[in-house]
Symmetry: C2
Subunit: 377 residues, 2 copies
């Protein structure tokens, strides 16, 4: 039986378990600690930065893949050198781990990105601000997620603490600064690619962020049929082939006020913008990821109905936890599918999501929002 080893025990690993069970694949998880979202499949608890831990975990698996992008390059390369299949591989993951490398590579490939620069000090940042109407987005190249490590500034000293940190850790380096893109909305294009090259894309979706965190996803993105869908899909193909991505991945996009699509971020793993596919697509991103990293043929990515709306459960109920609300929520919303990660509620924490599938967007959004409201107060 094929064995997939997943590094990281969060909800993305958790949500790989159902399709692994369906397909009769063995899934093993290296969790950071006991009691994590994916603990049911955790065969080992340990530090993914420790080579011995990871090598022991990788023994006997057919492929190593990931719940997150934080495994150090040195560990990834050691796995590859030991002849272990790693997907996505270190050469692709470096671009997800370092936003400066990512911007450089995408620019080399001629892919559409916001104006950007690597800035090593406040003077260089001020030069960029002066050339971009006095406002810009500064990002720490490494370690950011869900809006962390991202800041809009209108003066160079507003990033002084981050420049200080660059000096402190002795690595030197630079911050990434990007133009503040005037965008109409944010889109996300998910796809999956096999090591042998085949690629499948889902319909492009619209994502709505609140406080830098994904809150709602509409699949497909309204008014995206035709040009927008084609351009977004082609960008995903170009990214995957240009960067050597394998497995499921997401390209977060700005749809600009002047009708361009610009690449905002990349995620080289299943992604929040693809959770809708669990109930709304013939093949979910989690099943597709397993198929892709095992180099098995990819599943069909069509919609099961006209649209699907995903809404994150952020924070959770003030008292009790998600299942405490099932008697009321499931009674009112028999068609909505609730996904709960078994995580304790905490302000701002992603602890679950709901998917609503329907034949028109208005009703489907309403249904999803009403259902999600039972789990947040």
């Amino acid at each position: 039986m094929p064995v997939v080893g997943v590094i990281g025990g969060g909800q993305l690993a958790r949500m790989m378990i159902p399709p692994a069970i369906n397909l009769g694949l063995e899934i093993r998880v290296l969790a950071e600690q006991e009691g994590m979202a994916a603990s049911l499949a955790a065969t080992q608890v340990g530090d993914y930065r420790d080579l011995d831990t990871v090598m022991a975990f990788a023994k006997g698996v057919d492929v190593v893949t990931f719940d997150h992008e934080h495994v150090p390059q040195s560990v990834l390369h050691a796995l590859v050198d030991a002849g272990i299949a790693v997907h996505p591989g270190p050469d692709a993951l470096q671009y997800a781990q370092d936003k400066l490398l990512m911007r450089q590579k995408l620019t080399e490939l001629g892919l559409p990105v916001p104006d950007w620069a690597a800035v090593e000090n406040e003077g260089e940042l001020q030069d960029f601000l002066d050339a971009h109407k006095g406002r810009a987005v500064v990002k720490t190249p490494r370690g950011g997620y869900d809006g962390k490590g991202v800041r809009v500034v209108s003066a160079a000293h507003e990033a002084a603490d981050w420049f200080g940190t660059l000096d402190e850790d002795g690595r030197g380096g630079a911050l990434l600064v990007e133009e503040l893109v005037g965008f109409r909305r944010e889109l996300a294009q998910m796809a999956a690619r096999r090591p042998s090259g085949a690629l499948a894309v889902w319909p492009v979706v619209e994502t709505v962020q609140k406080d830098g965190v994904c809150a709602e996803v509409f699949a497909p993105a309204p008014q995206s049929a035709g040009r927008v869908a084609e351009v977004a899909a082609q960008i995903a193909v170009d990214v995957a082939e240009g960067l050597g991505v394998t497995g499921a991945f997401a390209v977060e996009l700005f749809e600009t006020n002047d009708d361009r699509l610009l690449i905002n971020e990349l995620a080289m793993r299943p992604h929040n913008s693809g959770h809708w596919s669990q109930d709304g697509s013939t093949t979910s991103q989690f099943e597709q990821h397993l198929r892709a990293v095992l180099d098995l043929p990819l599943g069909a990515t069509g919609l099961r109905d006209n649209c699907t709306v995903m809404i994150n459960i952020l924070g959770g109920p003030e008292h009790g936890t998600v299942p405490d609300r099932y008697p009321a929520a499931l009674d009112k919303h028999p068609t909505v599918k609730v996904h709960y990660y078994g995580k304790e509620p905490r302000p701002g924490r992603k602890i679950g999501h709901v998917n609503s599938v329907g034949d028109n967007l208005d009703d489907t959004v309403f249904e999803a929002r009403e259902a999600a409201s039972y789990f947040q107060d």
Copy 2:
């Protein structure tokens, strides 16, 4: 977090794991042995006929439910007496455990069944044969499944061995004999019922048996809209309420040549005739079963598309196992969903199934059969 304890480690328990993960429920399995289909969730290995084993397993669970109907009444009653929720409960399960009791009860309730009798010896069986054109179906009341314990006879001595066994085990008792029903096709009606009474039915399906084993299921049953669907659904409601069934259950039906629906068998658990719902219905039978036994509101049971065809993988490949065929099968059939139970191939053994969802039956049947053929040779 609600905890569901499942007695029995087969594929039905296995297929409860994905919806438990989705809903954030804890699922624990008491498996008969190591390495069974549901081993991922097995927290204990032991004999379900042993009271101490079952009582230890039941400690700390919110409800005990089942992968099969074979737990002895004495064990079931001890659980109930200890204040543990058991669904379906012993009073319902007795009818699934003893076909004579079942026939008696259904007859009392006025539900449509074939002519039947309890026969204690060859003389009584011969009387029944003489009254029914010389042919009938003899069944052992207990322990039969997948065509085992069922025999068509045209002379009483053909059941001599079974009468002998009745004597041997000292329990006396009788065999069940039923008229040989002239039927057009077999149907199955699945439904689920909460302890508090609410009930949800899926569309009635057509089942095709080969050698007494379910081979194919068409959902919904062709030409069933209207009267057939209504009558079948009402039978399921009457059975559930009359016998006090809780959880997901199946009523196997004959559609007779003279347009009646007669109850053939009952299964008080998720059932092979409901596997199509994993991909073809808004709520799968496995999710619904968990919701029902926890007395949570039931999910919508509508079809996701016009039809779904389920085909069992019986026996499996002659060489290797199911995943060995994925490179070829998944490549040709990207829309088909394969379910493999992790069981070793063995002639006649149910080791998995495929579901194909589509908008017309002809294409969907073709797709499902073609896909299934990759796993059987």
